[in-house]
Assembly symmetry: C2
Homo-oligomer: 345 residues x 2
């Protein structure tokens, strides 16, 4: 059973390897009777069909697109936003009978040669929320693998499907400014805070491009406000809790907290509730993404069409009839009960 290859089958049937290969890949290149004889013999010998790696090597097609996720792969799944993206991408991948290769981005062995991005057999790659300048992106570029990012890059020939981060945040900022907020804390994703202790950051220290742009957007429509940047760790519910705890328990409470993702904002909401604070009354809370749970929780947020984003990325990667290489998706401010007027001083 082991060691049965195309050759074995060819010899058994008494034809050339090419013909056996054709039996699998180009059925119209040989007579039906022979094809069936080959397939029958293959079954008999326990031949499992052309070896995937060998086929990939010779034909140059891997039949899979890679997905690069923020930092820890496991984290990605805790954010419904990321999952929504994947769902959209999977939909298109399915249509084109292509697999999705989720690659861990463990920064540890990026330096060495043996990391997943280097070794992955993929035809193309989707880059989801990976900070610009990440070594994995260089590897990808170096390998000559076509990629589509969810962030607008600097290179004009880079493909992306993104939102206008600045404008989206500016909308939210305008809403908050109109409500009278002038003291705001922004909760961001940050690897260094992942250790446990929340950290306060400057705009330059914010690693992710999209986070940076969103903060700039807030600044744009809230020029008079004091904006502080705090992180409780990676993008996750628990980080939102920690970040908010840090802020709420300090002497210097803001009147509004903006989570740069809904999961973080919902974490902050939890921290507020534990302290008996009502979102929208005692303190305003807003998020980004509009994941399903945001609606249930009454969270004011900026909606982005995440599943469509995934679909669009998939189309650019897989559908040859898609010519558009850079796509700006619409966003929409969704006002719910978690935002309200700033308390008078």
């Amino acid at each position: 059973m082991a060691g049965v290859t195309l050759k074995t089958v060819a010899k058994a049937v008494g034809v050339s390897p090419s013909t056996v290969s054709n039996a699998y890949n180009k059925p119209d290149q040989l007579s039906t009777t022979l094809r069936e004889r080959i397939l029958a013999t293959a079954r008999e010998l326990g031949y499992a069909g052309p070896d995937a790696s060998a086929r990939a090597l010779r034909s140059g097609k891997a039949g899979a697109v890679g997905v690069l996720f923020t930092d820890k792969l496991a984290y990605a799944f805790s954010d419904p936003y990321a999952v929504g993206f994947l769902a959209g991408l999977a939909e298109v991948a399915e249509e084109f009978a292509t697999s999705l290769l989720l690659m861990p981005l463990s920064s540890t062995d990026i330096a060495g040669g043996s990391n997943a991005v280097q070794q992955a057999a993929i035809d193309a790659a989707a880059i989801f929320c990976v900070p610009g300048g990440h070594p994995a992106l260089d590897i990808l570029a170096n390998r000559g693998i076509p990629a589509v990012s969810t962030d607008r890059g600097d290179h004009p020939d880079l493909s992306w499907v993104a939102i206008d981060e600045v404008e989206a945040a500016a909308q939210l900022g305008e809403h908050l400014a109109r409500l009278g907020h002038r003291d705001v804390v922004v909760l961001v994703d940050n690897a260094e805070a992942a250790g446990g202790r929340p950290v306060e950051l400057t705009l330059d220290e914010v690693g992710y491009t999209d986070c940076e742009l969103r903060i700039r957007g807030l600044q744009k429509t809230m020029p008079d406000a004091r904006l502080r940047i705090v992180s409780g760790g990676h993008n996750a519910f628990a980080s939102g809790v920690r970040g908010a705890e840090y802020v709420l328990d300090s002497q210097d409470r803001p009147t509004a907290i903006v989570g740069l993702s809904d999961v973080q904002a919902l974490g902050a909401m939890e921290a507020m509730k534990v302290r008996g604070l009502t979102p929208g009354r005692d303190l305003t809370l807003a998020g980004f993404d509009d994941i399903p749970a945001a609606e249930a929780a009454g969270l004011t947020t900026v909606r982005q069409p995440i599943k469509d984003k995934g679909r669009a990325v998939g189309r650019i990667l897989l559908d040859p009839s898609t010519t558009e290489r850079q796509l700006l998706m619409p966003t929409q401010l969704i006002v719910r009960s978690s935002s309200g007027p700033a308390p008078k001083r």
Copy 2:
């Protein structure tokens, strides 16, 4: 830049291809100075490192684990339960620097030779909620790829990480029986109902082994009850809504509805609310899985440690130090407000 291979680099440096290969894979097999010279030249020539497919072919390791998901890949992501499994699996995969290959199971081209499961370059596979007897499982077995399933199979040498479906459901059944319920509708996943119109099924028609076992478990502790099986489509919120609508709008309302997944049960809850029915008072509702949203909704359900399940599957597949090949995970009945006494006739 194109067509730069190991050989090119070898020629440029003036060494043999083996040595260049060693520079990447076995750094201790050559002097540091030479290694650095090779790496530098490689960088200069724009060599992206050993080709993934070629390496996979020669070394016999693909560096990826396949994941087989229920039917449509895109559906999988709409169920937090499935996502939880993936998160656990991803955690372990990350630890072993292995990628996860999500394969679409589109039944259409399973018959032909060119489907994803056949073509996937993987070392092992995780099988998540795939109905027994699915052609993809045969392909996997035929290819000789070690696999771990989330369902207990019939073969004694098959690896699995599962729960005692019968016992878990029996627990829930006992709870319902004690509350006086004798007329129950079970909502199941069914491909045929996906068209739109809900269908009523017999136990034999239920495709998925785990669903079947759960129903048997209910029967076990509810021997006097009338159990009807209804499906509103695939495993998703919307299917739960549709299935429940069908049941609630009929002349023959049960006193309890059991969703075989929480997403379906939550869909049913939505349908109840639209009709002004309060879960736990007007009609009892229960689910399976205990996804995060179940707690928020007050849904009675059977908890299973899904993330641990994913981790365990990952360990069996990747960690050589794991010897256990078959693992039974604990379940726990979580009673919340959605279940209450059956109304007196």
